[in-house]
Symmetry: C2
Subunit: 408 residues, 2 copies
Amino acid sequence: MNDSANVIVLGGDGFCGWPTSLRLSSEGYNVTIVDNLSRRKIDVELGCRSLTPIETIERRIQVWQEQTGRTINFVNLNIAEDYHQLRDLIVELQPQAMVHFAEQRAAPYSMKSPKHKRYTVDNNINGTHNVLCAIVESGVDVHLVHLGTMGVYGYGTAGMTIPEGYLNVKVDIEGTDHQIEIPYPPHPGSIYHMTKTLDALLFYYYNKNDGVRITDLHQGVVWGTNTEETLMHPTLINRFDYEGDYGTVLNRFLVQAAVGHPLTIYGQGGQTRAFIHIRDTVCCISLAITNPPAKGERVQIFNQATETHRVRDLAALVSQLTDAEVRYYVNPRNEALENELVIRNDKFMRLGLNPIRLSEGLLGEVVDVAAKYRDRCNMEKILPSSRWREDIPFDREGSSAPQQAVLA
Amino acid sequence: MNDSANVIVLGGDGFCGWPTSLRLSSEGYNVTIVDNLSRRKIDVELGCRSLTPIETIERRIQVWQEQTGRTINFVNLNIAEDYHQLRDLIVELQPQAMVHFAEQRAAPYSMKSPKHKRYTVDNNINGTHNVLCAIVESGVDVHLVHLGTMGVYGYGTAGMTIPEGYLNVKVDIEGTDHQIEIPYPPHPGSIYHMTKTLDALLFYYYNKNDGVRITDLHQGVVWGTNTEETLMHPTLINRFDYEGDYGTVLNRFLVQAAVGHPLTIYGQGGQTRAFIHIRDTVCCISLAITNPPAKGERVQIFNQATETHRVRDLAALVSQLTDAEVRYYVNPRNEALENELVIRNDKFMRLGLNPIRLSEGLLGEVVDVAAKYRDRCNMEKILPSSRWREDIPFDREGSSAPQQAVLA
């Protein structure tokens, strides 16, 4: 049914981008992946690799074609640099939608050093701005679907339910109350998160001045690894990050359990985070594409998360499931010790999302994947090597690992 | 009294930067100008020049030394690119304050083409981010004083008095009102203004995570050209922009009157803007430096403007003063036809600012400067050549000037 519609997936070789590309291809879209393979190059820089053995993008696409008869195109370009190629591609393909995953997406990586801070800002902001500028210059009415993060809201919002992007407030002006709607005030907790709050202003401006149709997805922490499509053939397997920079908390715990490493809690594990399974991620992207904002409508914001959990509760759950030990470390992040988090996600629920819950057995699937590839795990890379401020103590002089905490 | 204090002025060769550098030097600060001379290069690109004949930065500094015995240092570097040089300079000088003017500052220039949009975003965001990143890496407790714009508030705020950066609002959460203070919601009207709203988020983050002390000055439209210091010798004269990209509205009218060009009103001239004289600008910067926020305090925001006027009222005033004709053109900007603007500027007033008013005779000084250098004016460059959207009509096919409007 979507056979004539082109969709460009920026960052389509990554953890969310690859399974999304397969899902959209299987739904009948003509998918073109644009990626400069930066995530694979960062693996080289960090001296680690996906726990799962991922194939080259060319081989992945070839096997997808063999399995399904469907073609995915691949263009290797850097959206933050190769502006004219990007613009010409939009003119050539006249895509119905562009899905934008092409940003440096790890908070710890963005905090490693001045070089990493600067790379993250330069790459993410110029990348997103080039996409918007190229859409306007092309004259094509593209719907831009951007992967944002729940982290733009901040986690210090005790008692306030987080709405989907906008907040209704009353302002007292010389004695008279006015009711206005404002973008939810941003509270970024890292350089990475900051770039996503900058993105939001780029979207706001290009939507207002040029009428670009934009959906911004404020996504929670993704867990799980495979989707229906990546399970079709071993060569289609998705990447799985477990190390201190790119490994997200629940997946990291599951690998730690599988390889016999203690579960690493930073601080007291009082952080409450929003979560979503990778299968729901691809489902949400597909729903977003089929439900664009109307021409002239403001930026559409969805909260893309299905449940919230406290980190120490997750550790307890995984420990119960696997008998893993739990160990506490000094938190390398500059954040509240404890936070509540209540979010709305009505929009995707109304569109028919049927969320995968943590308790529904898919934890076991991740444990199986982790166990299967445990020999590929580099134990040296499990602890984080970034810290948010110079005055946060490391484990020992010369170490780049956080200090193990002695809790009373 | 400030003899031991170093101050770095980023962009110290520009319209606001140069007179500020002289003022700070005369007050006893050891001033180092950092500038890559980009504004002079843009003059070359646009085929125009300052109405006033400005000397090289080296010659300017030399004459300043001859006149006052005070040394100003000059370092030619690009803060958006030469990160390590910038960081090393901070470490070497241990400045008390850095004043940051080093951004592309013309809205029309930022809208000329995709290339100019991309340059403005890349230059301004990487520049500001490098400054913040370098301050943190240096470990020096620098007070950063940034030149922002009133334009970040937007001009669609009918009936709402604009406070100084923050807004008190009430939020209704499940039936209970909470009072919170939020950053004033940004409403950028051009790519240039958008970069200033991004800057604000960079400041918010680096202040929160790293405790950088920051003052952000939301400045109005600057008029006038000379200050006490630039009048000390002809070689110290300040630049004066009159053309369609960099010429700001009141200065542009005064030059138009001096050279016999009709006063160019875009739209109906119903735009209300905030203004400040260049002499008050340098006074405000000096006040900001001597009144830094305390360590640990949030970003300090001042509205740096002394009065507001409607554009067509300014044109009438100049027309009355000079007999110039007023002519209306299609507005190349995407903005409201008419807007009210009421701002607070209590903070600078409390610190002792004694504003120069439009009616106080300094208009005549500008007319004199314009008349003196009228032969240097390039009449071809007076009309703007940028437009905010492709569907805004130009004067005629192939023209880059806006259409002259026929008003009923």
